[in-house]
């Protein structure tokens, strides 16, 4: 299911660079220091772990919900386990990783707060990317169309969507407060996967960012 979601995200060809890597994954990879220990939650087909391993020399592990995704990853030699962000993070000890990454998966977990807290418990840093439900096109569809939005990023009808916890960029900042997460870096991406201006105000990101990537650390 998450694999499918990720696959859909890759359909926007403009969001890929010349070697075919997804811009949002490259952005996530860019937030990780070389050689770090990384856990990728929702590893999909392993593309992010591959990028991290090949380009950042990262010691990467993954969790993936779909059996197909896991088997594909393991057959590629990646250390990925079949599991679930909601139930399996509890088994990892504190500070097991330098970075715990949740890429395009937050909206599909049952308890986003618990997941984020676990991420910041087992990792010194968390990287979270998610589709922004505050984007103007989504607001238009809901506000004027009167329908649950459907976009390239979020192509599902509401009754079959794996996405059960949508949030806007502003909403995510609230979660960070509640979960005691400190924002180290935040980037909003437009529909082409290109970063929006760094100095733009939050309301601008919340309106024009199709997705956002946050680098977080533990507060205090």
């Amino acid at each position: 299911m998450l694999t499918r979601l990720k696959h859909d995200l890759t359909m926007a060809d403009t969001a890929r660079v010349s070697d075919g890597a997804r811009v949002d994954l490259l952005l996530v990879a860019d937030m990780v220091t070389p050689g770090a220990r990384v856990l990728d939650i929702g590893a999909g087909d392993g593309e992010l772990l591959r990028i991290l391993g090949e380009e950042r020399g990262v010691d990467g592990r993954g969790i993936e919900l779909s059996r197909e995704g896991v088997n594909e990853c393991v057959a590629k030699g990646l250390a990925v386990i079949q599991g679930d962000a909601d139930t399996d993070l509890a088994h990892y000890p504190d500070d097991a990783f330098d970075y715990v990454i949740l890429s395009q998966t937050l909206q599909a977990v049952r308890r986003p707060r618990v997941v984020l807290e676990n991420m910041l418990r087992i990792g010194r840093n968390a990287v979270v990317s998610f589709p922004n439900f505050g984007h103007w096109r989504i607001r238009l569809q809901l506000g004027f169309g009167g329908h649950m939005p459907s976009t390239d990023n979020l192509p599902y009808a509401w009754w079959e969507s794996p996405n059960i916890h949508f949030c806007t960029i502003k909403d995510f900042r609230d979660l960070c407060d509640v979960a005691n997460a400190k924002m180290e870096r935040a980037v909003a991406l437009n529909a082409d996967g290109k970063p929006l201006g760094f100095n733009a105000p939050w309301w601008f990101w919340n309106l024009f960012g199709e997705q956002a990537v946050f680098l977080l650390s533990r507060r205090g």
């Binding site: 393991v74 057959a75 000890p93």
Partner: protein, 396 residues
């Protein structure tokens, strides 16, 4: 079944236990005893083994194959007793996932077995007769310690990989726990960190079937010229069911009758599935020793990694650099996925590097021995990835 036939197959196996055909045998004299968990020493003893492929100059490409309960060391070459192909020819061989053109594969028979490593069917040098129940009770850890002595004998310090399913998977986990520095990567398939109550219960039924056979004679059947064929066959029939699945049995046999149109209203083998099980039982008796069956089932029952490591499996793997690939099968109800997941959680908790995949199949526990393309792809990918890190070249 006449006495002549009984005596013949019995003698055949006695010969196999002491002098296995088509096998290498490593002898360990009085200077190198095996210290057993039971608190006694086994000495002298021997280990039967096969090797496939070539050891590289660095001695870094060795892969140890661990067999299951009634398996043996003939993993990738014909079995001299049955004449059938090796039990893991799908997995081990030139170009196979465990590629003998790249790896030096060592496949050894566990102690306690009857196929050439010292066990209850072997001749006790003290008496000149088979050990029978005088053989000490052994554990999975004893099997692994014996294998470690075999590696010393072969002058191999570190294994590139240890792989096996079921009881073989238990040995893999024990290897990683006992000798983490000697195991670069580990492939425990369809197994668990401990034998469950249900599994112990199944084993007990099998042992009781053997021991209830009047021909068993308290394990002295070798000496008394008898053989507990019926008991061992029933034990195998019961066990065999646990290796399959409801769906697989239904797919293979359904409720079809065996060579007849209608039920006979008797206790003959009316159904195909009955006939099949009877065949499984009687052919097993031809190749396996009843006392060995008791000892090896016992060894599996005693297996409990957590108990050996302060109550937590994670302790068994703490600080280990071994790379793990755990595999389970959806229809395996003997070692269900939850057991493999427990291994994975323990490895996560200890900071271990682990891959874990569950494969969809209706073939039950035995799936690890069968044609499962996904298992082959996963094994190949995992070993390739590890070989790259280990610096093993293609073609050794």
């Amino acid at each position: 079944m006449g006495d002549v036939e009984t005596a013949a197959s019995s003698a055949l196996r006695a010969g196999e236990a002491d002098a296995p055909r088509n096998s290498h045998v490593a002898h360990f004299g009085p200077d190198r005893p095996l210290k057993l968990d039971a608190g006694v020493e086994l000495s002298p003893f021997q280990i039967a083994y096969k090797t496939y492929g070539t050891l590289n100059a660095d001695r870094s490409n060795a892969v140890l194959i661990c067999h299951a309960l009634t398996g043996d060391h003939h993993a990738a070459s014909p079995n001299p007793v049955t004449g059938k192909p090796g039990w893991w020819v799908t997995m081990v061989g030139p170009g196979k996932p465990i590629d003998t053109e790249r790896y030096f594969v060592i496949s050894s028979n566990v102690i306690g077995s009857c196929m050439g490593s010292t066990g209850p069917a072997s001749t006790n040098p003290q008496t000149g007769q088979p050990w029978g129940l005088d053989f000490p009770v052994i554990t999975v850890r004893d099997m692994v310690h014996a294998q470690a002595m075999l590696l010393d004998f072969l002058n191999i310090d570190t294994l590139f990989a240890v792989a096996g399913g079921s009881m073989g998977g238990m040995q893999v986990l024990q290897w990683a726990a006992s000798f983490p520095k000697r195991v670069f990567c580990a492939l425990p398939l369809a197994c668990a960190t401990r034998h469950s109550a249900q599994n112990i219960a199944f084993h007990e039924v099998g042992r009781q079937a053997v021991m209830a056979d009047p021909e068993w004679r308290h394990g002295r059947y070798f000496v008394e010229g008898t053989e507990p064929r019926r008991g061992l066959a029933v034990a195998r029939m019961g066990a065999h069911i646990t290796y399959l699945s409801d769906a697989a049995l239904h797919r293979k046999f359904g409720r079809r009758f065996q060579d007849r149109e209608n039920p006979t209203f008797s206790f003959d083998a009316d159904f195909e599935v009955e006939s099949y099980l009877r065949h499984q039982g009687s052919s097993f008796v031809e190749r396996f020793d009843a006392n060995s069956y008791l000892y090896l089932t016992r060894a599996m029952d005693y297996f409990d990694l957590a108990a050996d490591h302060g109550g937590a499996v994670a302790n068994a793997f703490r600080g280990s650099d071994t790379r793990f690939c755990v595999v389970s099968f959806t229809s395996d109800w003997l070692f269900p996925t939850s057991e493999s997941r427990a291994i994975v959680h323990a490895l996560n908790a200890s900071g271990g590097r682990v891959s874990f995949a569950e494969i969809v199949t209706d073939k039950g526990h035995d799936a690890f021995l069968l044609d499962e393309p996904e298992l082959f792809a996963i094994t190949r990918g995992f070993l390739d990835g590890a070989a790259k890190v280990r610096g093993l070249k293609n073609g050794a």
